[in-house]
């Protein structure tokens, strides 16, 4: 039987979840014997293959049209989608900006900050347009939730290993940590 394929990608994230993934350290060698990592933002191949993967591992919230595109692409190509980290699971720190109308939040961040000179709100329709912050589960169907900011390397190893062994991981009480 072929090894299960895993692809990772990031949305509106700080990269901390991927750092925590790298913190799995030498156990990555153990994992790579069991799974094939097809693509990730921190490898040469970035985009999950059109032929599909078994596990799509997403970090970050959905914050823009580009995030939405990446999330939906992963959903279309992965059998099981994992939301990793508080941003993907709950919406993350960016959720704070939802307390203001989007335009007001963007003006504050990109134009009104005292250190900004001739600021400009990013938003090229061909690249990405900012959106109201959403958790991954509000945009696509998510199969496994792994909260944490970031989830510990031990937890990430546990979840990946369970998936590699063909099981859906169960996050019982001691494995939960929202910060």
């Amino acid at each position: 039987m072929a090894k299960p394929k895993i692809a990772t990608d990031w949305l509106a994230a700080c990269a901390g979840c991927h750092m925590s993934l790298l913190d799995v350290d030498e156990r990555l060698i153990e994992l790579i014997k069991k799974v094939e990592l097809t693509s990730s933002p921190i490898t040469d191949l970035k985009v999950p293959p059109e032929s599909g993967v078994d596990v799509g591992w997403l970090t970050g919230a959905v914050n823009s049209s580009d995030n939405e595109h990446v999330a939906k692409r992963m959903r279309a190509r992965a059998r099981i989608v994992v939301a990793c980290g508080d941003c993907a699971v709950f919406g993350g720190v960016m959720r704070m900006r939802n307390y203001w109308p989007l335009q007001k939040a963007l003006e504050t961040a990109y134009i009104d900050t005292p250190s900004t000179v001739e600021g400009k709100i990013p938003g090229d329709p061909d690249i990405m347009v900012p959106q109201v912050d959403r958790a991954l589960g509000e945009v696509i169907k998510v199969d496994v939730y792994v909260p944490g900011c970031p989830p510990s390397a031990d937890l990430i190893f546990y979840v990946l290993n369970e998936l590699a062994e063909g099981r859906i991981p169960q996050l019982d009480t001691p494995k939960l940590d929202y910060d």
Binding site: V93, V132, G137, T173
Partner: protein, 567 residues
């Protein structure tokens, strides 16, 4: 109360009539999750986290309010119960901001703990992103309505513990908000900043400005000790980290006020801005310059021995052990001794009152007492008495915040009011140093009376027991030794030609001194205070003594030897 037998999860439990299911379960070691329940306030059954299934019909009832009865059978963790609790949790998380990663209560939050306990790895329902007000109008703590779960613990603490009745509920349904008075900013309300609400808040809605993000419950050490701010001697829990005082928490199980503290006791010790004196200082050419302990002590000993007239004053914040060390030096030097701050009261002519006496009193008379900043906990006891139907009479008191809630009276009217009481009616007399001893005697004559004596200064009674009374103001001795401890009082009643100040903090007093000796802070001391009824209160050291510091008692006993040599 009659004993009865009931069944929790099929287990036979012996308990008593009048208990709730939650109390019976807790006694039997069975955990039922709670959220709006707090042992210090009346159970309200509002949050529905403690639901239990009552057999055989399977109704769900809150355990915190459901009374036990003979043969009652409940299930605490049946599928139906757990499902209902999870549903309640999901609804709680669907309102307002419960994002743990940027919350001050993260790690200590009871809502978060319940979510972990119930294995919530994500939220089922969409959340509203409607912003609520963050009220930062109070000096010491913030109300963030975005974090509030409307459990009303704060409201019950405000009404039942402090009896101030500032907090209430405004608006309806999902728009409900905890409001102060008729919805005014908290800082402009009748709030007395006792912090009882802050102490009982289960989430990050009420946040202490000083200790926020300085460590969670697991990071902070807990040290039980006694408050040094007034003579009531409330028990406090000093929370420390790396030998620094971070926060003062209520001690709900101990002390005369059982968890109720006041602004001065809970917050002021953490907001002192005066700098610490870290090294002995001597005046040279008009300037105070640092010197060694040996230099400073031999100069002090020399000046004390050489003085023809000598005054020695001590703060009423000093422990009994420090008072004894002080008396040893200065009785030997035949100094005029007295109190630098604080004022004892006359001894109570009758039995001492406790908080319970206030709860059952028909009349509370306060005579010559300071009830605004000092002794505010006693003012809260008076409010509680009033809530229980007692009349309050204030005779020559400083109690601005009780005004309008009392029946202000002159001495004669107080006696007339006391005369109106019938035989069994309990009377409580609260009195300070200014109270007229003869009036107290006359009030004692009717019987059924208890006295709460409120000297100024936490250990004024201990000082009085050693013969240290209020110092006579004026006079200009050759030398004066002022042992200020960690008092911030800057105006001594006596000014010596040569002024020695032994003080923890730099104040105007030390600035005008000829020699300054560093003193310890209350958190660094071990010893005892004597309460007004002669009870001993243990002061525990909550942080290590800094390496540069010397124990005040060692400094005083060193002076005994040095002055003998100088003579």
């Amino acid at each position: 109360m009659a004993a009865l037998t009931m069944f929790i999860n099929g287990q036979e439990i012996e308990t008593e009539e009048g208990r709730t299911v939650l109390e019976a379960a807790t006694e039997a070691g069975i955990t039922i999750p709670t959220l709006c329940y707090h042992p210090a306030v009346t159970a309200s059954g509002g949050c529905r986290m403690c639901l239990v299934e009552v057999e055989p019909r399977g109704q769900l009832h809150p355990a915190c309010t459901f009374p036990v009865s003979p043969g009652l059978r409940v299930q605490t963790h049946s599928d139906k119960v757990v499902k209902a609790r999870r549903y309640v949790l999901e609804l709680l998380f669907s309102e307002r901001s419960h994002y743990c990663m940027y919350c001050a209560a993260d790690g200590d939050c009871e809502l978060q703990t319940l979510a972990y306990y119930h294995g919530m790895d994500h939220w089922l329902y969409p959340r509203s992103d409607i912003p609520r007000v963050v009220d930062a109008s109070r000096q010491y703590f913030i109300m963030d309505h975005n974090r509030c779960i409307l459990c009303r613990r704060c409201i019950r603490a405000c009404s039942e513990v402090a009896a101030v009745h500032t907090l209430g509920m405004g608006q309806r349904g999902a728009e409900s908000l905890v409001v102060a008075d008729l919805d005014v900013p908290f800082g402009e309300s009748t709030c007395i900043s006792c912090g009882s609400c802050l102490d009982v808040c289960p989430v990050g809605a009420l946040v202490d400005r000083r200790s926020a993000f300085m460590g969670g419950d697991a990071d902070l050490e807990r040290h039980g000790t006694v408050c040094a701010q007034c003579s009531l001697g409330c028990s406090i829990i000093a929370r420390t980290r790396s030998d620094r005082l971070i926060r003062i928490d209520s001690d709900w199980d101990n002390g005369p006020s059982a968890g109720l503290l006041c602004r001065v006791g809970r917050f002021e010790p953490l907001h002192v801005t005066a700098p610490r004196i870290r090294t002995p200082l001597v005046r040279e050419g008009g300037e105070l310059v640092p010197c060694s302990w040996d230099e400073a002590l031999s100069l002090v000993a020399h000046r004390l021995s050489a003085a023809d007239s000598l005054a020695a004053l001590i703060s009423a914040r000093a422990t009994n052990e420090e008072l004894v060390a002080f008396n040893t030096v200065f009785s030997h030097l035949q100094a005029d001794t007295g109190l630098f701050d604080g004022r004892p009261t006359v001894a109570a002519p009758g039995p001492q009152a406790t908080m319970r006496d206030f709860d059952t009193a028909a009349l509370v008379v306060a005579v010559g007492a300071e009830l605004d900043d000092e002794h505010e906990v006693a003012a809260c006891w008076m409010r509680r008495a009033r809530d229980n139907g007692a009349r309050l009479l204030l005779v020559e008191c400083r109690a601005d915040r009780l005004k309008g809630q009392d029946h202000g009276a002159e001495v004669e009217e107080a006696e007339a009011a006391v005369a109106q009481l019938s035989g069994d009616d309990r009377l409580v007399v609260v009195y300070g140093p200014r109270a007229d001893a003869r009036l107290l005697e006359r009030l004692n004559e009717r019987g059924s009376v208890a006295f709460l004596s409120l000297p100024e200064g936490v250990n004024a009674a201990g000082a009085a027991a050693l013969g240290l009374e209020e110092a006579v103001a004026g006079g200009a001795p050759d030398a004066a030794y002022i042992y200020a401890t960690d008092s911030l009082t800057a105006t001594p009643p006596v000014r010596g030609d040569f002024q020695i100040v032994h003080s923890c903090y730099r104040t105007e007093l030390t600035d005008g001194a000829d020699v300054v000796l560093p003193a310890l802070h209350w958190t660094e001391k071990e010893g005892h205070f004597t309460g007004p009824s002669g009870d001993l209160r243990t002061v525990n050291r909550v942080v290590a003594v800094p390496q540069w510091a010397r124990d005040d008692r060692d400094v005083l006993s060193a002076l005994v030897g040095l002055t003998e040599v100088s003579r």
